[in-house]
Amino acid sequence: MEYALSFSLNGKPVQVAVKANSSLLDVLRNQLFVTSPKKSCDTGDCGACAVLIDGEAVNSCITLALTVEGKKVTTVEGLGEGNQIHPLQQAFHEHYAAQCGFCTPGVILVAKALLDKNPKPTREEVTQAISGNLCRCTGYVKIIDAIMAVAEANK
């Protein structure tokens, strides 16, 4: 049994038929071929699948797809304007905050959710905000540096 689901994905309306037990992550990846949210732990522990739902960072692997009816879902594919990447993306690139790149889309979205609410966070607030995102390559210093660089520019 499948159900009709309509929501806004990266600013564009989408309609898709989904099973009641499908996660938002599976629908994004396997049905809509939006692959930046990653399937890693699949239990809401690592943050690699994070997306924005109406501006809030959420682990899409433990979000039932049907719960986003009528909502705005954003992935990193939807960041930036035209050919211009988002300042957070630029900062992650310049500060070498991505090594293997698997956790990167999720961390950028969590950082965006933070900065949209709190444009001038302290380093501690940034550290707290990304505490749900695991990175196994870099440690977190460069990631925090990148987010702080954007935060500093807001000051």
Binding site: K38, Q89, Q90, H93, Y96, F102, R136, C137
Partner: protein, 432 residues
Amino acid sequence: MGVVVGKRIPRYDGLQHVTGRTQFVDDVSYPNMLWVKAYRSPVVKGEILNVDVSQAEKTPGVAAVLTAKDVPANQYGFSNDQPVLAEKGVRFKGEAIVAVAAVDEDTAQEAVEKIRVDFKEETPVFDPIEAMKPDTPRVRPEGNLWMFGEVPYRRIRLGDVEKGFKEADVIVEEVYRTQNQDHAQLEGQVSVARLEANGVITINSVSQCPFLHQLQLAGILKVPLNRLKFIGGTVGGGFGSKNDMHADHITSLLALKTGKPVKWRWTREEEFLASTVQGAWIMEYKDGVKKDGRIVARKIRAIRDAGAYGSLNPYVVDKHCFLVCGPYAIPNVWIDGYCVFTNKQVSSSMRGFGITPASFSNEVQMDKIAEAVGKDPWEIRFINAVRDGDITATRKTLESVALIETMKEAAKAAGIQLPDHLMAMSSEKKEV
């Protein structure tokens, strides 16, 4: 000034990563692609009496069910001792016995749950020390110890340790243990295989060593190398967990059997249960030390818990033994490094092939030595540091050594003022 040296250049893949456009293996999909799930052994050790896949095969949406009988050469791995799918028996809980390809993951899982396997359970062995005893049940028919040539341990001898112990003022004996450790890389095991019209199999692989895996897979499938095209190099974290082939053989076999593209993505639970791990170590040290802190003899028995199959364990034991004396000049050395099989998931490479546990135990031992002779830990490391012309336990004459210089810089960076007699030392000469 050079173009690159001394400068920070942008990462070639940085923009791909931050825009989410990097294509990892799980991001590859094809129309009509099949998905795989595996039946894994619920028992730790036992004989397989019967495998009944009839109900799985009848499940609507199932395209193929793969068992050991479908594997042309069902033996592979770095020690060439591991089945692709277990046939006669299992050696660890989670060992794969059947693989199912179906239209989606749910259907494949449903079919897996209809598989019935009868086992004659046997007594497993978990403790490597127990496994080393002659009366302990065998993990593998060849015995529980890996043979390094004619002896069941990697043997390293330099000088005469017993003479060294007699000359010593203090004996420092300690046992160090590390536990099994998963790499916990964010990208789990995943593979996509597609059979091309010309008979070539294209494999999107997470392999950390695609050429070695191409060779292993050619052996399993009994096909020439030019039938296998590996697309790799984009890995979402590996740390040694992807030096062993975990999925590419199964997807390739199922692509051959069905003619359709096939994807297998392990769950995190499978990753923890059945992928390779850094095996546990037991490291028993006996060091003979002079009152001034010089180590004159070191005897070590190092035991590696290899788990159920050989994999890279013998190589890991080699590297461990070659480097367990650390960067210290010890004139009399005796090392026996054992590779012991137990009924646990397979151990293999992780971050330094056994050197990390060696460094951990060796450096803690250096601090214990400092404590035993009442000297500063820096002093112990300086006076035992290897210098130009020193010979290692494996009889390598060292040149261009810079340990003392490095330690001076490290002390400086840590804000530690070293005494003058240490600052006067150099790698180029020894104090008399």
